[in-house]
């Protein structure tokens, strides 16, 4: 779509959380909804209507691509989360995992695609897809990805851990490509690519300063290819990274990936980041919603204070901005009411907009 669509949303003062999980947990059996495309589609639509946004954003379930990938090796969905590769993969395994065709898909993936199908024809809704980014998926395939990445950054290319890291990146990119192509074929007009581990916890700024090209090779190159695949499918990139970032990372995401929306975590001050981001990239976020569960750490008055500070900062810098959460706002059973109340408080800090 034309990038102006997103800029208009920001100009109209849209504010919204990534909050489909919250809405899903209003259902009597949320886990059933997660795997039922029709029910999930209704929940996604309800979330969009509730917050007056055309962006029909699905669950930020970053497990799905790993489950589908490992199912190609016969690993069950239940076992996928804790499954890690421990040694370099042989050619036959690599070939199996890197194919272009989708293999078996888990119920959650099928539901996500069906929900996109259902919402593509709904009035005033833009079906948005969701996928984990290639690097973040890579980090889920290894028991100790940080050490492997650090070894790669130190030039220990012959180490088996480093060889496995690159192999995992290769198969992750293939898996994410399969996922986004499927979502595009089901009607996604934008896809939120989530790279929360593309951050300083996994990629050392010290190594980058010393000249390591790790961030470029492990994060930027795969995501640039992903962006090209999205463009080829007529689909917009919404890029999300709630990890701790340094300025060159933000600049690279904003300028080179050039998403329509850049969503960052609460560790960033968006009004400062505006100088790093082209004006045709909408900034999204970034209230610390991960702390909304706690009334002592994040009382509603603090939510309001931070929201007002953010809104004022963004108005002052004049950068297109959609007020929202720093990540998906997850339901927490012990604090559901507190979280909902704070989401409402956050959204009430800006004048109502017309969706």
């Amino acid at each position: 779509m034309d990038r102006r669509f997103y800029l208009d949303l920001a100009a109209r003062g849209l504010s919204m959380p990534v909050g489909t999980d919250l809405v899903m947990h209003e259902e009597s059996d949320p886990e059933q909804v997660r795997n039922d495309g029709a029910a999930l589609g209704r929940v996604v639509e309800r979330a969009a209507r509730r917050w007056g946004t055309p962006l029909a954003i699905p669950l930020m379930d970053l497990r799905l691509e790993k489950i589908d990938l490992l199912s190609l090796l016969g690993v069950s969905a239940a076992g996928a989360e804790t499954y890690h590769f421990t040694q370099p993969l042989d050619d036959a395994v690599l070939e199996t995992l890197c194919g272009e065709q989708n293999g078996p898909r888990c119920p959650g993936t099928r539901a996500r695609d069906t929900a996109l199908d259902l919402n593509r024809s709904k009035d005033g809704l833009v079906p948005v897809g969701m996928a984990i980014g290639p690097f973040s998926l890579t980090t889920r395939l290894m028991a100790d990805p940080i050490t492997a990445a650090a070894m790669a950054g130190s030039g220990m290319d012959d180490a088996p851990e480093v060889k496995l890291l690159w192999q995992c990146l290769h198969i992750s990119e293939a898996a994410v490509l399969r996922s986004v192509r499927s979502q595009i074929s089901h009607g996604a007009r934008a896809i939120m690519i989530c790279e929360p581990t593309a951050c300083t916890a996994f990629i050392s700024p010290r190594q980058l300063r010393a000249g390591a090209n790790l961030f470029e090779r492990m994060v930027m190159e795969p995501n640039l290819r992903l962006k090209a695949a999205l463009e080829e499918g007529g689909c917009d990139l919404i890029f999300h990274d709630c990890g701790e970032l340094i300025d060159p990372m933000v600049e690279a995401f904003a300028n080179r990936l050039h998403p329509v929306i850049l969503s960052l975590g609460s560790s960033r001050r968006l009004w400062d980041d505006a100088r790093l981001v082209p004006r045709d990239v909408v900034l999204y976020g970034n209230l610390p919603t991960k702390l909304f569960y706690s009334d002592s750490v994040m009382p509603v008055e603090e939510v309001v204070r931070r929201t007002e500070e953010l809104v004022a900062g963004m108005r002052q810098c004049g950068h297109p901005h959609i007020l929202g959460s720093e990540c998906d706002v997850l339901f927490a059973p012990q604090a559901a009411d507190a979280i909902r109340m704070k989401v409402d408080a956050m959204l009430s800090c800006v004048p109502a907009h017309s969706a």
């Binding site: 028991a143 100790d144 940080i146 050490t147 010290r206 991960k290 569960y293 706690s294 002592s296």
Partner: protein
């Protein structure tokens, strides 16, 4: 002295091969294992922690140094065991029930080990019953719990309650951490301490034990 400083430098620079080689050379020259740990390795990890606190080092450097430390410890552990020597402080660590995230926990475990503590890693998705059983069996000084999700944080309180019920709570210090966890939450659930990062966890363990 230069072999010891080689070992110190190797750990500080996260070079496992050099750390292994320097340890081998020091032992061959007659160095005493516990002295190598106390005078070269622990100070190196302390410096790593300091560099992390001042944002000169980041998590990847912590892990590389921890890996170098481990490669040296592989040589020293059998010698310590044979001499009947034990690490002074034992820590049990795990990610709480329902939570499968283990990277943060692994980093803390690595830093604790690197700081000279004996670390028993129970893994991820550890139930309160498993923590209790491990405390009964291994008699640690400290229990560390990690949670990355708001939905799994209540398992920290359940574990502390289970330790109380089993009559073990007063025998151990309990330290918690993880992205959504705060010092306030630690107070609310009756933990002894909280740290927002791995380096801080090491300092907190030392602080808790000093105050005990």
């Amino acid at each position: 002295m230069s072999l010891r400083s080689d070992l110190y430098d190797a750990i500080l620079n996260g070079d496992a091969k050099k750390a292994h080689a320097a340890t081998e050379a020091a032992l061959a020259a007659g160095d005493v294992p516990m002295e190598l740990i106390q005078e070269s390795m622990v100070p190196a990890m302390d410096e790593v922690g300091r560099l992390f606190e001042c944002e000169e080092y980041f998590v990847p450097e912590l892990l590389l140094s921890g890996r170098a430390m481990k490669s040296a410890m592989e040589l020293l552990k059998p010698l310590l065991t044979a001499a009947g020597q034990k690490m002074a402080v034992r820590v049990i660590i795990g990610t709480v029930k329902g939570d499968l995230h283990d990277i943060g926990k692994n980093i803390v475990a690595s830093m604790l080990e690197g700081s000279g503590f004996e670390v028993i890693d129970l893994g991820a998705d550890v139930s309160p019953e498993m923590f209790v059983a491990a405390v009964e069996e291994r008699k640690p000084h400290v229990v560390c719990m990690s949670a990355l999700l708001t939905v799994t944080m209540p398992a920290m309180k359940l574990t502390i309650d289970a330790l109380k019920t089993a009559g073990l709570r007063t025998q151990v210090k309990v330290l918690i951490g993880g992205a959504p966890v705060t010092s306030q939450y630690a107070k609310e659930i009756g933990a002894d301490g909280y740290s927002e990062n791995a380096s801080g966890a090491v300092g907190m363990v030392k602080q808790l034990l000093a105050a005990a």
